[in-house]
Symmetry: C2
Amino acid sequence: MGPRDAGGARRRSDAAAGGTPCAACDIRGLSFCAVLSPAELEQLRAITSDMRVEAHRTIVSETDPADHLFNVTGGAVKLYKLLMDGRRQITGFLFPGDFLGVALNDRYVYSAEAITPVSLCRYERTQLEGLLDAFPALEKRLLGITANDLVAAQDQMVLLGRKTAQERVASFLLNLSRRAEDRGHGPDPLHLPMTRADIADYLGLTVETVSRTFSRLRKSGVIVLDGNEWVRLADRAALEELSEGE
Amino acid sequence: MGPRDAGGARRRSDAAAGGTPCAACDIRGLSFCAVLSPAELEQLRAITSDMRVEAHRTIVSETDPADHLFNVTGGAVKLYKLLMDGRRQITGFLFPGDFLGVALNDRYVYSAEAITPVSLCRYERTQLEGLLDAFPALEKRLLGITANDLVAAQDQMVLLGRKTAQERVASFLLNLSRRAEDRGHGPDPLHLPMTRADIADYLGLTVETVSRTFSRLRKSGVIVLDGNEWVRLADRAALEELSEGE
DNA sequence: CGGGACTTTGAGCAAATTCAACCATTGTGG
DNA sequence: CCACAATGGTTGAATTTGCTCAAAGTCCCG
């Protein structure tokens, strides 16, 4: 399956009237394109397509040719890998400003699925690579982003290899909360767009264990649940404690 | 602790007589410097120090200022992170040709320790960064290496989050074997320079479980142990099967 | 208001850990 | 040269954490 299956994409330049220009993009500061000057941004925009994907649709599939790279501008995305017998490991969640498209040998190394309706900037890989050569700052930025992702992946290895269920959930909530803050959302009610099953597959646990752990944290007053999608981190200090500081 | 503690380093150019020139470096093809022309290599060499580290010495420590970056030219290195209570997660093993020095906010994000005696090329971070600006190919290469490390980290997340003990050990052996082959070593007797405890901390298991799993694989004829440091992958197909192909 | 997807809770189970003892290899000092 | 300490590895028994299987309970959206 290619990105084509996930929804229409239209050339940015063709959509001048309706599209959101980069100047109005409120997450540009977080994105890889933050380092570009207005003139350079113009050139990037020329090779950009807007794309919208409904919830639960696949954006890219593992082992597909990596023809496109993406920048998430709205919504939430999950990245995952499958074992042959169906076991799933979610390797990350993406939010606005995050870059999508790590590839090896020109193939995607994970699948990406929209959790909520998602909007993306889409680039042809070859075209974007051309721009990287022209704008060293952009390449440098991409190196920084990749190094950051690597650091996050190593933290997740610690979590998966050495933390208890409770520590994993506490770390997860704090992590999401920090990322929400980066995006200017107050940390108070934290949004969990993903299901408990997604959280389980991200933390290397089962749904039941995640649910039980949430219940335990709720009963001990550390968090307050408001429906399934919203949490208040009532006692952040206790959470930090429980997460066994990485 | 800084790299200073781990052993002496001397300027390459000062050691022209005794040092190994890049031309004679048999792992240059695997290294980040593989993309440089002879003239460029000369410039890199000018900012390179040779360094030797005894086994069990720390090369860099997590949270230390990341003043130096390294290229492993001989020996084996382990990278690890610690939780406050001492639990340890090894995030990777490095062999000749591997790059060392991922940093965030100018601090190392993990500790690195020599497993065997290790030799390295050492660069001042600021100087190497200057060279990256001068040689775009080098920066591109570093991006490729970092992306590769990220992919490997994601595979390790699958292993840690979703694989059984036996699958982890099988994947580990196959992985090491592939890396040995990349370095021109026949896969037949595979060298394990790290202890069982290191393997355990890499695979998110205990020493006892690693030992039991090795024993089980040995008894079923899949591997043949020759002392603690050497394994023959007698039935590679069975190992592939057991590793539940990532 | 109903139905399907998601979540929670419970009871029993199993994989891996913990705790403990023993074995093997190596290097050291008497 | 050998005794023996130290490090690392293996094996066993008991325990535990998290998983599996099963059954309710909620939420949300049409």
